[in-house]
């Protein structure tokens, strides 16, 4: 179940802790998608601590809310949140990408709490449409959320799914775009521009909201229900790739860069300072 008692400051502290954890496991594994995990972690924080009606105990319950991470490469963000929410013991994360580990470098159902194996881009939205459609057929109350990268939107399958979602009026579906504006080659606007994103989704029949994807209150509000009754919702979350670690922010190489020992210590020092700032603000 969600934790409605958590304040925005409580969630901010969790976000800092999640950032520390995901950097630690990426450093330990020597592999991972650092920048995109840091850009979407605040979104996952709000989903799993405030919005999704799912717990380790209800992870297979038919009426649970569903989350599908279409941008599967940011799996480290998902793993650390699921671990902290008790879906599996956190020690497992030390085996990320190790031989025989269930913690594969993209989401797999081998890990408790993961709904669907993802990693190939342009898959999650169609899967989520199917889940939401089943919910409508069964007159169930659950909601379906999926997280897509903005570079991922170049995959044509997303637009097949977008048409289908509005055709079936799936207002139990929310697609979140982690709009960090960078992909592995460079700026998305230079690789293959998807602008204007809001108008594209609106023209496909979606309700669209644009928010600061690091503003926990704004994220919470955007996830509170369909933007427009009878339409699927697209939340364009404007984020910063590498958010929270100054030397990673907006730098393409951190798409899948792994910090050196010195960089890791420097990043942790920044995050410690952020934690201290939150504690001071509270006291």
């Amino acid at each position: 179940m969600t934790s409605p008692a958590l304040s925005d400051d409580d969630l901010r502290r969790k976000s800092v802790a999640y950032r520390r954890d995901l950097l630690r496991i990426i450093k330990h594994a020597g592999a991972g998608h650092t920048g995109g995990s840091l850009s979407c972690i605040d979104i996952l924080n709000v989903l799993y601590n405030r919005v999704l009606n799912v717990t380790p105990e209800t992870a297979r319950h038919p009426d649970r809310d569903r989350y599908v991470q279409s941008k599967g490469h940011s799996v480290e963000a998902l793993y650390v949140v699921l671990a902290e929410r008790g879906f599996f013991p956190p020690e497992g994360l030390d085996t990320l990408c190790c031989g025989g580990s269930p913690f594969v470098g993209h989401p797999t159902r081998k890990v408790p709490g993961i709904e669907m194996n993802t990693g190939g881009l342009g898959h999650g939205l169609s899967i989520s449409v199917g889940m939401a459609m089943a919910g409508k057929l069964d007159q169930a109350s659950y909601r379906v959320f999926t997280l897509l990268g903005d570079g991922e939107l170049a995959e044509g399958s997303n637009w097949e799914a977008a048409m289908c979602a509005s055709h079936y009026a799936l207002d139990n579906l929310t697609a979140i775009i982690d709009h960090n504006t960078l992909q592995i080659t460079g700026a998305t606007r230079d690789v293959c521009s998807n602008a204007p994103l809001d108008e594209k989704f609106a023209s496909f029949g979606w309700g669209v909201v644009s928010i600061d994807g690091h503003d926990l209150a704004a994220i919470t509000e955007a996830f509170s229900g369909p933007a427009v009754t009878g339409k699927p919702t697209c939340v364009i979350a404007n984020t910063t790739k590498g958010r929270g670690v100054s030397f990673m922010e907006g730098v393409v190489k951190w798409h899948h860069g792994v910090p050196s020992e010195a960089e890791y210590k420097s990043a942790l020092a920044e995050l410690d300072a952020a934690t201290a700032g939150l504690t001071e603000a509270r006291s």
Partner: protein
């Protein structure tokens, strides 16, 4: 779209079928649609998901009878499979129906990731498979689906040979909790026997037993092997005919039992010569130390001949006459005097 297919059978073949008491049935596609309707009528969780293919899938009666159980996604095969996986994850029994040529190519990554890797119990239904579309050309042929799907983990690949096998396969798939691919053509087929097909389509059926040559065949080529065997018998050739609906996993026991002791083995399939039943049987035999003269009969690796399904079958020896000739030559190579 295309005219009714010319007969796949010569006058001699028709006469032999009649003499053997074989009944000319319907297209497997029609049997699929009827069987699915029968399964879905009492169970609202059974869904047909289509990509503008309810007409070619013979699913109009299904849609009319059970409008809430047919999901139309339009001409969007990638979305077809992703949506099907999502529906299956929520407990639906899903039959995803699309022409085999598009299903096994356009949506191959969705099949690999969303269905097979994610282990969603979706039944993938490739309609108008093989060269059913005939002269519409290679865009509409599926001569690669066995090869593509055999290389993907966690999917059972089934090509029923007649109406009996088709009905069994659909019923079995509806209750199977793993991914399945079913492949159906649209030409009327003779039933291979009067007895029912095995309840599990992974089991091969021994239709005839002899120890000179063994035909190991799948899908809509099996009948031509059975008729060829009848022709060969008149030349004193004793023939085994094994119908292998399941290309993956293979019924290895039945295939080895059928081939051991035979001087020659001829495989037949409506598929590319690469990556299908022929390759699978060859690997099995060689790996098991069973080494008869071996001939794969399939569509060669070339720009496919233009024509109806019947024209293409005849061109490449997938007819009674062609298969009998192939078997005779194989026996000749094995040193058996006819």
């Amino acid at each position: 779209m295309s005219a009714p297919a010319p007969s796949l059978y010569s006058e001699e073949a028709v006469a032999r079928a009649k003499r053997l008491g074989l009944r000319l049935g319907r297209a497997n596609l029609e049997v699929f649609a009827d069987t699915l309707l029968e399964i879905a009528t009492p169970d609202h969780n059974v869904l047909a998901v289509t990509s503008d293919s309810r007409g070619s899938g013979k699913l109009k009666p299904f849609g009319d009878a059970l409008p809430r159980q047919i999901v139309e996604v339009g001409i969007a095969e990638q979305n077809l499979i992703g949506v099907s996986a999502g529906l299956a994850s929520a407990g639906k029994t899903v039959f995803a129906v699309s022409p085999a040529c598009f299903l096994a190519t356009r949506s191959l990554e969705q099949i690999k990731n969303d269905v097979c890797y994610s282990d969603m119990p979706v039944t993938l239904v490739g309609i108008s498979a093989g060269v059913s579309y005939g002269a519409l050309g290679s865009t509409h042929h599926s001569l690669h689906d066995f090869a593509a799907l055999r290389a993907i983990h966690n999917v059972t690949v089934v090509a029923p040979a007649d109406n009996r096998e088709a009905q069994t396969a659909v019923r079995w798939a509806a209750h199977h909790d793993r991914p399945v691919y079913l492949r159906f053509g649209k030409a009327p087929l003779y039933d291979l026997a009067s007895a029912p097909a095995p309840n599990d389509p992974r089991d091969a059926s021994l239709l005839r037993q002899g120890d000179d040559v063994a035909f190991i065949a799948t899908g809509e080529t099996v009948i031509h092997c059975l008729l060829a065997a009848d022709r060969l018998a008149e030349q004193g050739v004793e023939t085994t005919v094994l119908s292998v609906p399941c290309v993956k996993p293979l019924d290895e026991t039945a295939i080895l039992a059928a081939c051991r002791g035979c001087r020659a083995v001829v495989t037949a399939e409506e598929h590319s010569v690469h990556g299908g039943l022929g390759d699978a049987v060859a690997a099995l035999l060689l790996g098991s130390g069973v080494t008869p003269v071996f001939r794969a009969t399939a569509i060669p690796d070339e720009d496919t001949y233009t024509g109806s399904q019947a024209d293409i079958f005849r061109r490449y020896g997938l007819s009674m006459e062609g298969l009998a000739d192939r078997a005779s030559r194989a026996l000749d190579a094995a040193g058996v005097a006819l």
